[in-house]
Amino acid sequence: MNNLIRMDFYRMRKSKTTWIILMFLILMMFASVYMSYSDIEYYKNNPSALENLKSSSEEVNWGIYIGSVSPKWCEDNKVPIDGLIKINIQSKIVLMFLVVFVVGFVSKENTSGFIKNIAGQVSNRGFILLSKMIIVGIYSLILLAVATVTIFVSSKILFGYVFVEDLGLLIKYIVYQWILHVAFGSFMIFLITLLKNEIASLLIGILVSAGVLQIVDAFIKSNKKSIMYFLNSGNIGQLSLGDCRPLLIAVVSMTIYMAISMYIINNRDIQ
């Protein structure tokens, strides 16, 4: 297992995709903070627009978005880095980049045929996927760290300051989000293993991270909570630290997805 992790980590380091995704993430995060900065300036100069923002800010957004603004930031308050980081992680930009990485990284082993070199060499083929899961965990952490650092730097450049409200809560928030992102990564590994199709996996991954499953709410026609609160992608968008449900959902789903994926790869012929 250790050997497989070392092998996958080496490939992650050597793959261009790893670095290209990080570069795009830095650009997107800077662009997002810049858009927030311009919007704050706009709302400060347009009180009527700010009123509209206040009334619409209560609406839940399950989709992917960038440059979101909290009304509090437009009322001559300092813009907290905590808020900027939370809004940008909730916007699922990081998740979208993670989806692209997981699809590229995991399916490449199959499409290149490299798996034929190693599938017979390991005592349990499921370890091949478990090792990928560890890499997804490492890369998620790198993505979140890079996003955080970029937002710090962007805030300093654009707003001229870095204002931290509560560092402890911020770290806790990032750790929770990391677990949710890894859980979503396990869903992607499951999809790739099940479908064996790069494009279909990527499409489904992006649609699910963009909240397409809220369509289920329309079919159920229930007044209770949206189904999104019971999904990893939904919890990434609306994470509440006071509730242990998101973590429970993440851990349970991760276990189930990995167990099924490992079962599939152990029992399926390598073609």
């Binding site: 070392r6 080496y10 050597k14 070199n117 599938a119 017979g120």
Partner: protein, 307 residues
């Protein structure tokens, strides 16, 4: 006799079709075994089952006397190059080999260089695989299979699509690995003449069945010589040949029968045909190509295009 590899009644069924059907074969240490068959005959499936990539529907494979679930313990002693080499084209040859070394826990920094030297790619290690020619990719594929110093090497169509120089390079590598390193091998190929230069024993496979196993010496003898009888009444002659116990013969046309066994018995054949009032125009020892012999056995064409 102790065999390095023993395949017993191996079958693999996909939907309603057998990819391999009740195949049994044994391989001695140090032997090079050639698998001949049309595309879709079941060669690749057989190699995949032996290497543990595909699970058989029936039958068993014993490797170093480990069979059943225990075979997993020794699967790492098999090196494979099945179908196209499994390589990351955006990485260098060194990186591809490094990945397999890491997987097997090999940390010797000189190891990759020594493997590349065996396949003659020592000066190309930092080139990306996508810049490699087909022949270089095949050699790198063999290098990948050699990581971990396997006792058994499975090479599926290693010379397919290569130019004459590429074929020679691979042939030299295969012979070197067998003679100098004592590696046992199974090689499948369409290029029969080339296989004849490498292989000790052949297995002819068709529609998932192992039709015949034959040594290189036997094949050479058969392909060099057969009895050709020019005759007016082949139907009557067949009855005589059957009585004489001949099984391996073929009616080529209305006047010709070829017999592929007991080449020293042409006198006996002449005498018996004469006794039965069957007039013979001529009886002689002729030779056929390996390809004709293959077609005779399988009723197909070795060069049919890949499916």
């Amino acid at each position: 006799m102790d065999y390095l590899l023993s395949v017993q009644n191996l079958s693999k069924k996909y939907s309603n079709q057998f990819a391999t059907n009740n195949i049994s074969l044994n391989l001695k240490k140090g032997e090079i075994y050639g698998l001949i068959g049309k595309n879709g005959a079941g060669k690749t499936t057989l190699l995949k089952i032996i290497s543990g990539l595909v699970k058989p529907s029936n039958g068993d494979v014993a490797l170093f006397d480990y069979s059943g679930a225990d075979r997993k313990k020794v699967l790492s002693r098999i090196g494979t190059l099945i179908e196209a080499p499994g390589l990351y084209s955006n990485l260098t040859a060194y990186d591809n080999l490094k990945l397999k070394c890491l997987c097997l826990g090999i940390n010797d920094p000189k190891y990759i260089g020594s493997i590349l030297e065996i396949v003659g790619l020592e000066g190309e290690s930092n080139k990306k695989v996508k810049q490699y020619s087909l022949g270089m990719k095949q050699r790198l594929g063999i290098a990948m299979a050699l990581v971990g110093e396997p006792d058994l090497l499975l090479l599926d169509e290693p010379i397919n699509g290569l130019d004459p120089q590429g074929i020679k390079d691979v042939r030299d590598i295969v012979l070197k690995l067998n003679k100098e390193y004592g590696i046992t091998m199974i090689i499948s190929s369409h290029i029969l003449d080339e296989l004849l230069k490498i292989v000790d024993r052949f297995g002819i496979i068709n529609d998932g069945r192992l039709l015949k196993e034959i040594s290189k010496a036997e094949l050479k003898e058969i392909c060099c010589n057969h009895i050709e009888i020019k005759i007016e009444e082949p139907k009557k002659a067949i009855v005589v040949l059957d009585k004489l116990g001949f099984n391996n013969y073929k009616v080529i046309d209305n006047h010709t029968i070829n017999i592929y066994e007991r080449l020293n018995d042409s006198g006996l054949i002449s005498m018996e045909l004469y006794k039965n009032d069957i007039s013979i125009n001529s009886i002689s020892i002729e030779s056929i190509s390996i390809e004709d012999y293959f077609i005779h056995l399988t009723g197909g064409n070795i060069d049919e295009q890949s499916n």
